[in-house]
C-alpha cells in the first residue's frame, strides 16, 4: 500500500509543480522533494531546504550561537549519511521580533523552506509562528518553553519540554531527596520565561504539599539580592526555590552561600547552564535543576553527540545545542517516514512521530504537538551536574 501512496503523492506533486511552476511563491524544488523508498532507504534527489531563525546577535545571542552549532553539526552528519540531504539556511532575528517576522515571511514566501526551526525566544515565536501556520509551513521550536506556542496552530511543533513538564519532576524528586516541608520561592516577574517557571513551581509545590512560607519577586536585571535573601532566611526554609535567568541566578546563588544559607537551591530551567558552575564556583554546590537533557547519560547517542560537538567546536554542548541537534533528528525522521521533503508531508509525519531515539531520549509528540520525553533532575556535585538520586 505504501508504494501506492508514495506514487500517488509523487504524481500529485508533479502535476502541482507543473501547474504552479509560474507561481513565484510556491517556486522551489517542491516536486523534486518527493523521493523513493522509505525510512533509511529513502532517497530524495534535491536537498530539503531547512530554515533556522535564531537569535545570533542581541540579548539572546548566547543561546542562538549554540543552537546554530547543534543544527549545523546535525545537518553535516545527516548529509554525510546520505539518501536525504538538507540545505540549512540560518538567519538571525537579532533578538528582535520585527526581524523575526521579516525572516519568517521570507522563509514562507520568496525563499520557501520545507520546515522552519526556531525562533530562539518564546515571545518572538508568538509573533512569527502564526505566519508559518498561515502559510502552511511547519515550524519546530527548539527552545520555546512558554505556554501558548503550539496552540497557535497545527503547523507548530516544539521539541523543548515546557517548564510545566520539567518542574513537577524536579519538585517531586527534590521533595523526596531532602524531605522538604516548607520553602521560600523567589522569581523575577518581568520575564516571560521565569514567570511561567514560577507558575509551574507554585503548582508543583502545591501538588506535593510543600508549604510556601514566602514568595519574593525581583527584576531579571537585578544582581544584588542580599536584602531579599535575608528576608528569605528569616523563615528558615528547607530549600530556596528560584526561577531566574542565569544572569541573576549566579549572583543570587553566590550571595546566598555567602550569607551562610546552605540549604538546597532548586532552580528553574534558567539555572541549567555550565555557566552556573563556572561563575558561581563552590557556591553552586547543592543546586538542583530539572533539565530536558541529561548530559551525563551514557547511551551512545548522547556520548557520540558530546564527543563530536567537542571535536567540532572545542566546547561542551549545552541543552540548547542538544535540543537543536535533536530537532534535526526529528525533522529527518519525519522526512524519511514519508520519504518526502514537502511541507504538508513533513507536518503530517512530524505529528505522527513516536518513540524516536534522540539525544533527549525516546521522543514523541503529544497530541498538542508538544515534546514528550524523559526529563532529568540534576544536582551540582563537585563542580558538575549529577543525576539527583
Amino acid at each position: 500500500m505504501r508504494w501506492f501512496r508514495t506514487a500517488a503523492v509523487a504524481a500529485a506533486a508533479v502535476t502541482l509543480a507543473a501547474c504552479t511552476s509560474a507561481d513565484e511563491t510556491s517556486a522551489g524544488p517542491e516536486g523534486e522533494l518527493v523521493g523513493s523508498g522509505t525510512g533509511d532507504e529513502c532517497t530524495i534527489d534535491s536537498p530539503v531546504p531547512v530554515g533556522a531563525v535564531l537569535s545570533l546577535t542581541g540579548a539572546a545571542a548566547s543561546y542562538g550561537e549554540t543552537q546554530r552549532n547543534g543544527l549545523e553539526l546535525a545537518v553535516d552528519q545527516l548529509n554525510e549519511a546520505g539518501g536525504v540531504t538538507y540545505e540549512l539556511t540560518v538567519e538571525d532575528d537579532q533578538t528582535d521580533p520585527k526581524q523575526g517576522i521579516t525572516v519568517f515571511e521570507q522563509f514562507t514566501g520568496s525563499d520557501p523552506q520545507s520546515v522552519i526551526i526556531g525562533p530562539t525566544l518564546s515571545n518572538t515565536a508568538k509573533q512569527t509562528d502564526p505566519i508559518a501556520h498561515e502559510a502552511g509551513t511547519p515550524v519546530l521550536g527548539i527552545s520555546n518553553t512558554a505556554e501558548g506556542i503550539t496552540e497557535i496552530g497545527n503547523y507548530v511543533f516544539r521539541d523543548s519540554l515546557t517548564e510545566s513538564a520539567v518542574i513537577p519532576e524536579t519538585v517531586a524528586a527534590a521533595t523526596e531527596a531532602y524531605g522538604l516541608q516548607d520553602v521560600v520561592v523567589m522569581y523575577s516577574n518581568d520575564d516571560a520565561f521565569t514567570e511561567s517557571g514560577y507558575e509551574a513551581f507554585a503548582a508543583a509545590l502545591d501538588e506535593v504539599g510543600v508549604e510556601v512560607s514566602e514568595t519574593i519577586t525581583f527584576s531579571k536585571s537585578d544582581t544584588e539580592f542580599r536584602a531579599l535573601l535575608e528576608q528569605a532566611a528569616s523563615s528558615d526554609p528547607d530549600a530556596l526555590v528560584v526561577s531566574a535567568l542565569i544572569e541573576a541566578a549566579v549572583p543570587l546563588v553566590t550571595q546566598a552561600r555567602e550569607a551562610g544559607m546552605q540549604m538546597p537551591i532548586i532552580g528553574g530551567n534558567g539555572f541549567n547552564s555550565p555557566q552556573l558552575m563556572a561563575d558561581a564556583g563552590d557556591a553552586a554546590e547543592g543546586v538542583v535543576v530539572g533539565a530536558a537533557w541529561n548530559s551525563t547519560a551514557d547511551d551512545p547517542l548522547t556520548t557520540e553527540f558530546i564527543q563530536s560537538y567537542e571535536d567540532e567546536y572545542g566546547a561542551q554542548p549545552d541543552q540548547f545545542a542538544a535540543q537543536a541537534y535533536a530537532g534535526m533528528t526529528l525533522v529527518d525522521s519525519a522526512v524519511r517516514a514519508g520519504c518526502s521533503g514537502e511541507r504538508e508531508a513533513i507536518r503530517e509525519n512530524l505529528a505522527g512521530l513516536s518513540d524516536v531515539p534522540t539525544v533527549l531520549g525516546e521522543f514523541s509528540f503529544t497530541d498538542g504537538r508538544d515534546a514528550e520525553h524523559p526529563a532529568v533532575v540534576q544536582v551540582v556535585e563537585d563542580g558538575s551536574f549529577a543525576v539527583l538520586e
Binding site: 546577535t57 540560518v90 537579532q94 521580533p97 520585527k98 521579516t102 515571511e105 515571545n123 509573533q127 520575564d191
Partner: protein, 598 residues
C-alpha cells in the same frame, strides 16, 4: 531582491509612525523618550476595547482600537506633560524615560496584560492599514509645518526667549507638541500589536524608545519626510545585508553601526536635511516656509505687481490714541542679591512718544526693559503695560500679546530659519490660526496665509531686507541682523516697540536710516522706547529722554534740555559740567567703537 516586500514595506510604515511621534516633539526642540510608554499603554488599552465584530455592524474593530489608543496616548501625554514639559533637554529625556519604565513595570504586574508573558491579539493590520496611517500622519506634519502652530514650534526650538517675546505661549505649545506625540505613539502602539499579533510590555523598553529616537534623528527632525526616510533606512539595511548574502552574525550589526555613524557624521540634519537641500522640496516641506504656491515667485510682490490686487491686509490691532498711558511704572526696584540694578524708578510712556532711555554701562537700562516686557519680575513697585498689570504670575508672552514687541541687546534671531520665516514668526500675535483649515485645504486658509505673507514681506521691505528673504538669519551681517529683529518685532503690529540698542554695530549712515525709520513708525502711531548708547542718535530721534544712572532716574525731559543737564554730563564724563560740546565729543567716540560697547 527584497524578500516579501509587503512585510518590509509594512514595517517601514509602522516604524515611520513611531518615528513621527518623536518628530512631533523634536520640531519643538523637546527630547522625550516617553513614547514607548505611551505606545505600550495605548496598545494594552486597545486590546481591552477592540471588539470581535464590527461595532454597530459598520465600525471596524481596528478603528475602535485606534480611537481608544490615540485618546489613551494623548491623555497620558497630557497628564505627564503638565509637570514635565517645563523641563529641558536631558532632564526631560530622563523624566520621560522614567515614565516609560514605570508604565512597563506597572503593565507587567497586571494580570489583564498577561504580565511578562504578554497577550496574543488578532491580526488586523496589513500593508494598507499601515500605509494609510503613516500617510495621514505624514500629511498632518506636512500641513502643520506651514501653519501658525508649526511656526511657533520651530521658533520655540530655535530660541525660547525670543519666541516668548513674540507672544508665543511656550508652555502651552510645548504641551501641545507633547500631546501630539502621545497620540501618534498611541496610534503606533495599537497598529504594532495588531500587526505582530502579540502585545508584550517588555517590548516597549528603553532600547525600543532609543531606536525610535535614532530613526527620527537619522531621518531628519526638521523635514516632514524625515521620519519615513529614517524608517526606510533602518528597515532596508538588514534586508539589503540579507540580499547581498552577508552571513548572519556579528558582521551585520557591525556594518549597520558603521553606516549609522557615517550618516550621523556627514548628514547632521539627517536624510531629510539632504533631501530638502537637494530638491525644491524645501519649499513645500520646510518647517516654517509656507507651501510653494504661497510664496510669490518674486520675493517682492509689491514691486512686481502685475495687475492682480494685493491680498487684503491683516486686520491691524487698535493702537492706543496719542497721549494715552501706555506704560506706568511706579516705585519699581530690582535687586540681584545685594546689587540694586534698578532703584525706585517712576516712568511713564504715553501713546505716540519716542522715548529715549540712556545711561552709562550698568545703569540698569536692560533690567528696566526686561521688567517692562514681563521677562524679569520686579522686587518692588507696580508696573502696568497696555492695561496689563505685571506681577508674579503674568508670563512674558501675555505682555507681548497685549502689544509690546521688543528687540534684544544681543540679537536673538531664529538663526536656522530663513529671514522671511523669522518675520512670519513675528506675526504670531496677529495671524489667525490656520492649522485645521490647512488640513482641509480650505481656500480661506490660503487667503489668510497670503495676508500673513504679504504682511511679513512688507516689514522686510520696510527695513530693506526683502532681497534676503530666503537667507538663513544666522548668515546675515551684524547690522542686517539688527534690522531683521526690528522687522520681526514690527510684524506683530505692536502698540509699543522696545528697541534695545538697535544701532549697535551700525555705521553712521545706517544709524541715520534707522533713526529715520523710527520716526516714520511714530508717525504711524507706534509708541517707541529706544535704549541706545549712541547718545547723538537718541537726541536726534526721540521726543523725550530719560537718563538712568546706578539704577536711578537722574534726568527726564526734552532731548536738548536733558543734554545740558549737569547731572547727565557728570554721569557720562565723571566731572562737573563742561557743556554740551563735551557730550557730543563723547558720543562720537561711542559711535566709532560701535559694538564694542556691549
Amino acid at each position: 531582491m527584497f524578500a516579501d516586500s509587503s512585510t518590509t514595506f509594512t514595517l517601514i510604515a509602522l516604524t515611520g509612525v513611531f518615528a513621527y511621534s518623536f518628530y512631533a516633539v523634536l520640531v519643538a526642540g523637546q527630547l522625550s523618550l516617553g513614547q514607548a510608554g505611551f505606545a505600550s499603554l495605548a496598545a494594552f488599552a486597545s486590546t481591552q476595547a477592540v471588539p470581535d465584530e464590527p461595532m454597530f455592524g459598520v465600525v471596524p474593530p481596528l478603528a475602535v482600537g485606534i480611537v481608544v489608543g490615540m485618546v489613551t496616548g494623548a491623555f497620558a501625554a497630557f497628564v505627564l506633560g503638565l509637570p514635565v514639559t517645563r523641563l529641558r533637554g536631558v532632564f526631560l529625556a530622563i523624566a520621560t524615560l522614567g515614565f516609560a519604565e514605570m508604565i512597563r513595570i506597572v503593565l507587567i504586574n497586571q494580570s489583564w496584560t498577561g504580565g511578562a508573558q504578554g497577550l496574543s491579539v488578532p491580526k488586523l493590520v496589513g500593508p494598507p492599514e499601515a500605509w494609510i496611517a503613516v500617510g495621514v500622519i505624514g500629511f498632518w506634519f506636512l500641513r502643520q509645518g506651514g501653519s501658525k502652530l508649526g511656526r511657533a514650534l520651530a521658533a520655540i526650538r530655535e530660541d525660547e526667549l525670543a519666541a516668548k517675546a513674540m507672544g508665543i505661549d511656550v508652555t502651552r505649545y510645548r504641551l501641545a507638541a507633547f500631546v501630539t506625540a502621545g497620540a501618534v505613539a498611541g496610534l503606533f502602539g495599537v497598529l504594532w500589536v495588531h500587526f505582530s499579533r502579540f502585545a508584550d510590555p517588555n517590548e516597549f523598553s528603553f532600547a525600543f524608545a532609543v531606536d525610535g529616537l535614532v530613526t527620527t534623528v537619522v531621518g531628519g527632525s526638521t523635514f516632514f519626510l524625515g521620519p519615513l526616510l529614517g524608517s526606510g533606512f533602518f528597515t532596508a539595511v538588514p534586508e539589503l545585508q540579507r540580499a547581498v548574502g552577508i552571513e548572519a552574525g556579528w558582521l551585520r550589526p557591525f556594518i549597520a553601526g558603521v553606516l549609522l555613524l557615517v550618516v550621523v557624521l556627514f548628514l547632521p540634519d539627517g536624510f531629510g536635511g539632504l533631501v530638502s537641500k537637494l530638491g525644491r522640496l524645501r519649499r513645500w516641506g520646510g518647517p516654517v516656509l509656507a507651501r510653494g504656491s504661497l510664496v510669490p515667485r518674486s520675493p517682492m510682490p509689491d514691486r512686481t505687481m502685475d495687475g492682480t490686487s494685493p491680498p487684503p491686509a491683516l486686520p491691524a490691532p487698535k493702537l492706543p490714541p496719542p497721549g494715552d498711558e501706555v506704560v506706568r511704572m511706579s516705585g519699581v526696584s530690582k535687586d540681584y542679591g545685594g546689587v540694586h540694578a534698578v532703584r525706585d524708578v517712576d516712568l511713564e510712556i504715553r501713546g505716540g512718544e519716542i522715548l529715549g532711555l540712556i545711561g552709562p554701562n550698568g545703569a540698569g537700562k536692560t533690567t528696566l526693559v526686561n521688567i517692562l516686557t514681563g521677562m524679569t519680575e520686579p522686587s518692588a513697585g507696580e508696573v502696568r503695560v497696555l492695561g496689563v498689570r505685571l506681577g508674579g504670575s503674568v508670563p512674558a508672552h501675555r505682555v507681548a500679546l497685549a502689544g509690546v514687541s521688543r528687540t534684544f541687546q544681543h540679537s536673538k534671531l531664529f538663526e536656522r530659519l530663513s529671514v522671511l520665516d523669522n518675520v512670519l514668526v513675528g506675526t504670531h500675535r496677529v495671524a489667525p490660526s490656520t492649522l485645521l483649515r490647512r488640513m482641509l485645504f480650505l481656500p480661506s486658509a490660503r487667503r489668510t496665509e497670503r495676508q500673513v505673507l504679504a504682511s511679513a514681506l512688507a516689514r522686510l521691505e520696510r527695513v530693506g531686507l526683502a532681497e534676503r528673504a530666503t537667507t538663513p538669519a544666522g548668515d546675515l551681517a551684524y547690522g542686517d541682523q539688527r534690522r531683521l529683529e526690528i522687522a520681526r518685532a514690527l510684524a506683530a503690529q505692536p502698540s509699543l516697540l522696545v528697541l534695545d540698542e538697535p544701532a549697535a554695530g551700525m555705521n553712521h549712515v545706517e544709524a541715520a536710516e534707522l533713526s529715520e525709520l523710527i520716526r516714520t513708525l511714530a508717525d504711524d502711531g507706534i509708541t517707541v522706547l529706544l535704549i541706545e548708547h549712541n547718545v547723538r542718535m537718541v537726541l536726534d530721534t526721540c521726543t523725550r529722554v530719560v537718563v538712568l544712572d546706578f539704577g536711578e532716574v537722574i534726568a527726564s525731559g526734552e532731548p536738548d534740555v536733558v543734554a545740558r543737564d549737569p547731572h547727565v554730563v557728570e554721569a557720562y564724563l565723571g566731572t562737573a559740567a563742561e557743556g554740551e560740546a563735551e557730550l557730543a565729543v563723547e558720543t562720537s567716540a561711542h559711535e566709532a567703537d560701535g559694538s564694542g560697547e556691549q
